[in-house]
């Protein structure tokens, strides 16, 4: 009978908390959205599954060795940890708090104490350490994105870089939103948190994860989920804003065929960009450096094997671990918080403002160019979200004029948006990191 009771006490049903049950439901919702609705399935399937794994009671998959020890260890374990962390209390909450604030020496001592008692990092926590805490996964994905990006449309019409710059206003406006909510006493965001939330407006998953892992690791789960969900919702969020800000006549503008871009220019562009980054903004070097490297591999034509790996096999492998690691941040104690709601709301506002600014900038450029040269619809593609945002521009253009194919014209601002959000990320890491 005792054995039976032990089994019952070790079961999930006995141990599950309301928060965990709710988070498992959220994980299932993400899986549903990915599988049935086809929302960014490549990321939401691993994230949703990781979220479920992270909330399995007692398994501690998303917890570090010390957190597991605090949760599962006996009184002796707790007093050992208290000694390692130099505090007198053996209350679990106090220990967790001290562990988060500990300097490296006592941090390491606590980890050793936990290891001595046979507690280890959970599987997902290890993935998180390797993939995200180290900064590796978002950067490798950025390399793959670089290898997939064709700068031809941008080089044919470099002025579209301004659209990519204008659309980044969403990022910075959202920082003001987050800071404003804190000033009003509704939320409690630091300036670092605000910067990490703003980057959702860049509509660039890897950039958002990279910035969040540096500036606000606690909010990473919510930020990544918001960023990828809104990227999937681009076809729903953008069109109303684009229609509201443009006239029918403007939407009908058809643009001249882009010039042919010689191969030499495509090879030189990532190098020019890299030099500019090196001279002006070394803080953006990790992101844009990997991006340029990937693009050079694609365009130079002599390392097709490497380019192929970067844009297929490697990016797929990394995506799996990145998704699971982000999922590990969907544990109940970190995600079920009023701040998550704030992040979701601010994120969609960031997106909307970015889209609007891109369209308005395109209208200004169109006026300056004589009023019949630039279709303002391509401005919305200045938020990154490659190639979805460009497809939305194309679709709206076709609705007004069935002979008007804007896709290639919109790809210019689209890839400019990737550069723009990486630059914005570099600026924020520089100022508040």
């Amino acid at each position: 009978m005792d054995k039976l009771m032990d089994l019952w006490h070790a079961s999930g049903v006995y141990n599950i908390t309301g928060g965990q049950a709710f988070m498992i439901l959220i994980g299932l919702l993400l899986l549903f959205l990915a599988i049935r609705k086809n929302f960014e399935p490549l990321l939401l399937v691993p994230i949703g599954f990781g979220g479920i794994l992270a909330n399995i009671p007692e398994a501690g998959l998303a917890m570090s060795a010390v957190e597991n020890a605090i949760h599962l260890g006996g009184p002796e374990m707790l007093s050992n940890l208290a000694a390692a962390l130099h505090i007198s209390s053996t209350e679990p909450e106090a220990l967790k708090h001290a562990y988060h604030l500990a300097d490296s020496a006592s941090h390491t001592a606590a980890v050793y104490a936990a290891n001595d008692h046979g507690f280890n990092n959970g599987m997902l926590y290890n993935f998180y350490l390797v993939a995200i805490a180290s900064g590796a996964a978002p950067l490798i994905i950025f390399m793959g994105v670089g290898a997939m990006t064709d700068f031809g449309p941008l080089l044919a019409n470099p002025k579209t870089l301004f659209l990519g710059a204008a659309a980044q206003f969403g990022i910075f406006a959202t920082i003001m939103g987050a800071v404003g909510l804190t000033t009003l006493g509704l939320m409690d965001f630091t300036i670092q948190d605000a910067a990490a939330i703003g980057i959702i407006g860049g509509a660039d998953g890897p950039t958002a994860i990279y910035v969040a892992s540096l500036l606000a690791p606690d909010l990473l789960g919510a930020i990544a989920v918001a960023a990828y969900s809104y990227m999937a919702l681009v076809p729903l969020i953008q069109p109303p804003i684009m229609r509201a800000l443009t006239t029918e006549a403007e939407r009908k503008i058809s643009m001249v065929q882009l010039r042919h871009v010689p191969k030499t220019e495509k090879i030189m562009f990532p190098i020019v960009l890299l030099i500019l980054v090196a001279l002006l903004l070394p803080d953006a070097a990790p992101l844009l450096g990997m991006f340029c490297f990937g693009n050079l591999m694609r365009e130079c034509g002599v390392v097709d094997r490497l380019s192929d790996t970067a844009q297929n096999a490697l990016i797929n492998i990394v995506t799996i671990f990145l998704g699971l690691s982000v999922g590990s941040k969907l544990s109940a104690d970190k995600f079920l918080d009023i701040q998550t709601l704030g992040i979701l709301v601010l994120g969609v506002i960031a997106f909307g403002i970015g889209t609007a600014c891109g369209v308005l900038m395109a209208k200004v450029m169109n006026k300056m160019a004589g009023g019949n040269a630039i279709n303002p619809l391509i401005g919305s593609a200045g938020v990154s979200a490659v190639p979805m945002a460009a497809r939305v521009s194309n679709k709206l253009g076709l609705e007004s004029n069935s002979q008007n194919f804007l896709l290639m014209h919109a790809m210019g601002p689209n890839v400019a948006g990737v550069i723009g959000s990486a630059v914005a990320a570099g600026v924020m890491i520089k100022f508040v990191g």
Binding site: F172, I191, E265, F431
Partner: protein
């Protein structure tokens, strides 16, 4: 609290300003690069012209192939 607000404001102004400065410089750098490349290493317009040649050559090759195959079939039937 006001401190946080002003921090946010300066981040917005400087951040947005820097993004614009950077991308403006990139526009100029790209323009200069394109002009330089057009001058120093203009692309030979070979690929554009070679395409029609191939197009014309293909049917000719087919005729030849048909002739060879017909001959082969004849040879086979005679045997």
């Amino acid at each position: 609290m006001d401190n946080l607000m002003s921090e946010g404001l300066s981040l917005m102004v400087f951040g947005m300003g820097f993004v614009f400065v950077f991308l403006t410089l990139l526009v100029f750098a790209t323009g200069i690069m394109s002009k330089l490349i057009a001058k120093v290493a203009p692309e030979a317009p070979v690929p554009a012209k070679s395409a029609p040649v191939v197009a014309v050559a293909a049917p000719a090759g087919d005729d030849e192939l048909v002739a060879v195959m017909t001959a082969a079939v004849h040879q086979f039937r005679k045997d």
